[in-house]
Point group: C2
Chain length 203, copies 2
Amino acid sequence: MTATQTPVPMGPVVPARAAHAPLTPVEQQLRTAQDLFIRRWGEMGQTWGINRTMAEIHALCYIVGKPLCTDDVMERLHISRGNASMSLRALCDWGIIRRLHKRGERREYFESLSDVWEMFSIIAAERKRREMDPVLEAIKQCRQMLDEGHLGKAAKQEAVQLTRQRLAGMEEFMSVTNKIFQEFIGNAKSGLTKVVKVLLKAF
Amino acid sequence: MTATQTPVPMGPVVPARAAHAPLTPVEQQLRTAQDLFIRRWGEMGQTWGINRTMAEIHALCYIVGKPLCTDDVMERLHISRGNASMSLRALCDWGIIRRLHKRGERREYFESLSDVWEMFSIIAAERKRREMDPVLEAIKQCRQMLDEGHLGKAAKQEAVQLTRQRLAGMEEFMSVTNKIFQEFIGNAKSGLTKVVKVLLKAF
DNA sequence: CTATACTTTCAGTACAAACTGAAATCAGGA
DNA sequence: TCCTGATTTCAGTTTGTACTGAAAGTATAG
């Protein structure tokens, strides 16, 4: 690949890349393109409740398409070692990047999943569990608090009825949404492409 | 209707509700239930990039089901006038709550849309426009920067090809997602229920 | 016009999340 | 075993967001 440099003898310890090898024009162009993607992706992540740096790291791993080590990430995104370490670990916890050991090397590498659909379904599953399920739970609890069993005839009061209606409306919405999510999650690898096709035809 | 035919002096305006009328047990129970919903909704909003207070105000308007004035909101959520004012305006800008004038009253009231599907589609439309479209735009730009027109034969280099592949994968994903969003948005009022039924049958 | 009721704005503050850097810890090789 | 490169942790700091409260603004009735 980047064999434009003097053939470095594969010494005892192979540096990931020559300390600061000047980039060829093509490499520069590649970086520029990648950086644009990374920046936009980070911005988007932010507004969706994912911290910018984490989104950027993930974007970097994804877009480059090959394993990167901590120093690569630090250098490329200008972040500290601590930040890189914590964010990489969090991404691993999410399951959208993977740790990777290279033979005869001490340092660890990280690579992104390559299938966007799979990543999406992983994230969807987790967010559903963490954020939507508790709300659905709460709604059910609320409805119980306001049913006749608890309030008796008072449950017929206008204000109570109104709130009950609203709770019902929201519950219906969230149940359906949840079901859709579930479907995506269930079909993560297997039939996702097919599911999507069905979806698109439905529209 | 409002019996303000008689020249009611605007002086000591009729308070929205008696200053601090003690709540009946039923009202208390109702509040407790509503509060639970509001709290959970606020927490969820936070992790989706919506600030907690705004989400809570919206939840309050939605769950109560009748128009509330600024003071109602302040009192109920324990927030300042400034905060209430700004958040209410932002919610109006989003279009998920509406300003409402009552005959013969100076103060303004706010009420939430009642149809959850409509609210969702409004939000989806806006977020798509603000957050997804720019990314798609960026991806297209990136792909252009890396095509043969710009890089010549260098475009065949492995690293470049890899990134191009990744960009393509992401673009496909986002296009489909976008299309789905679009469909929801388009069917906001008209046939949403039908669309959902189709969806559910597809699964 | 003035007085009153209500709304908006915004400078300043409080609070929270993100980030750094260095020290502590861990793991492989001799 | 120790040595060394790599990773993790975390106290302290920076940065950013949310919030308050009071002053300015707006609108209506008289």
